[in-house]
Amino acid sequence: MSEQSNGNHIIVCKDVSKWYGEFQALRDVSLSVKPQEVVVIIGPSGSGKSTFIRCINRLEEHQSGDIIVDGIPLTHDVRNIEQIRSETGMVFQQFNLFPHLTVLENITLAPIHVRKVNKAEAEENAMALLDRVGIPEQALKYPGQLSGGQQQRVAIARSLAMKPKIMLFDEPTSALDPEMIKEVLDVMKELAQSGMTMLVVTHEMGFAKEVADRVVFMDGGEIVEVGTPQHFFENAQHERTKLFLSQIL
């Protein structure tokens, strides 16, 4: 990997492989993402798409290949891992808010203890973020008192509070009731338009069509096809891609 290409890409993955015991979950996955790019990863369940983005912030450990995030190689070095994690926000399918803390505390915890921001400033920033995701009035409630859509928006605000350069979304709308999906997607669209680098695993094809710069189709632990949304939905090349799209569209 030359210096040149590192400079152009904020995420560089080269030949990333991972096994669970005998089972190979990722096969030589290579993908590079430019700053401000929105990449949507689709594929059938068990195709390794979640595993792949979870490798990028080391929630899963890859066993071979290289991952470089914002110039920092992902190795066993704990300092590198913590640095990458603090620059990479992640939004989970199950929200994973901290149920014993208020919404405000959920958002300010990491800035205060990792970024060492003072409390007043962290809270001000948190309120601004809650405003941005449209639920400032929920600041003092506990996660259990919010709807799924609201919880997911809090989770997005919580990630943004760390001022990450990259946001990873792991099926952010899959656990939501249908009427709440839109409010979360709207927040994600706004985020994409603001220039955030995003890597999104989703089944929302509308979102992929409208927002993605590139769509990646994964199956069987490998990347089958990469292209613009237009290419994908009108002119897919591979049989497996066509089959998948025919099943879900």
Binding site: N57, R58, L59, E82, Q83, R85, S86, T88, G89, M90, F92, Q94, N96, L97, F98, P99, H100, L101, L109, A110, H113, V114, Y142, G144, R158, S159, M162
Partner: protein
Amino acid sequence: MTSAVQTATRKALPPPTERYTILGWLQKNLFDGWFNSGLTIVALGLLYALLRPLLNWAVNTARWEVIPANFNLILRGQYTAEQVWRLWLALYLLAFVVGFAWAANTKIIQGELIVLFAVPLLLMLVPFFDGGIRINLLIVEAAGLVGYVVGRVLPQRQSRLGVYALLIYAVVLLFILRGGSGDTGAWAAVPTNLWGGLLLSLLLAVFGIAISFPLGVLLALGRQSKLPAIRMVSVLYIEFIRGVPLISLLFMAQVMLQLFLPDGFPTIDRALRALAAVTLFSAAYTAENVRGGLQSIPRGQYEAADALGLSTFHSMTFIILPQALRAVIPVLVGQFIGLFKDTSLVALVGLFDLLGVARTVLGNPNWLGTHQEVYAFIGLLYWIFSYMMSYTSRRIEARLAVANR
């Protein structure tokens, strides 16, 4: 004026009488129809028949005078009589600190607070207490009030100050009880082998709980550690301690420890040895209970903390442990109640805790045959403190319920 009163009454109508008066309750629950009335009467008759011998004994036969006659012994063992004022001093301070901690924690006046303030006043009604005790109880009450007022004056809620005050109190308490080094004077040393009765039981329990809890949490974390050495040591410790009965640990601490120590090594205090045994024992159980709590935390919580870049220490302190400990409050309190009652085993290795002094009283020829009275009374004391712990635990659970999933 009149209209204001009227609005006030309109807002808070009295509840329907048939549900909230004693007679209404009786009718609804006990005499609702002829069949239920009959059942109630039969049940009352049965209860009376069963309890009559007990009541008869308690009222007519029992020699309750054994309790007042040995009251000092039961409360404080052989603690030097001239130094008893120091126990009172400790109680004044306790009342002050509790009042302060309460007010620092919440400004709302709760029922429990009123009950707490009623305790010294109610104790003043005990018939066999002399004037000195009553005056001291009054000072305790006043100290509690002063502490509460001081806590109220704080500009905002500061639970931490209350916790610090309690921690400082724990240290000061030991200084007050132990005293200086001389044998005479106002601050004469009172060696721990003179401490006894309720005083010793409570000290063993409170310090046992306070020290074994953090130790147990560390062991639980150690058992989950990724470092094999720490994990092994934790597992070995927990499994070893859990594999032996407490009484054997107590005997080891009292009898065998001295054999292992080098010659000329100063003798370790016997009360301290008992405390160490109780604490080490309890820590192993705490560790397993806390581990249960840790395992109940979904993996997503760890992942969310990791993804935010929190260090392991921060993630444990702010995310995992608060939730894990909340989940196991009932179990932990159950275990602490057990620890409190288990302190009675120290009587078997020669310490004079509640059970120990009870046996002393019964060994006194003047009080031969008063087993029932004495054991009933110390049983009551155990029950009162155990129930307080259990009640507190339920209140804490209720208070934390909002933040639960």
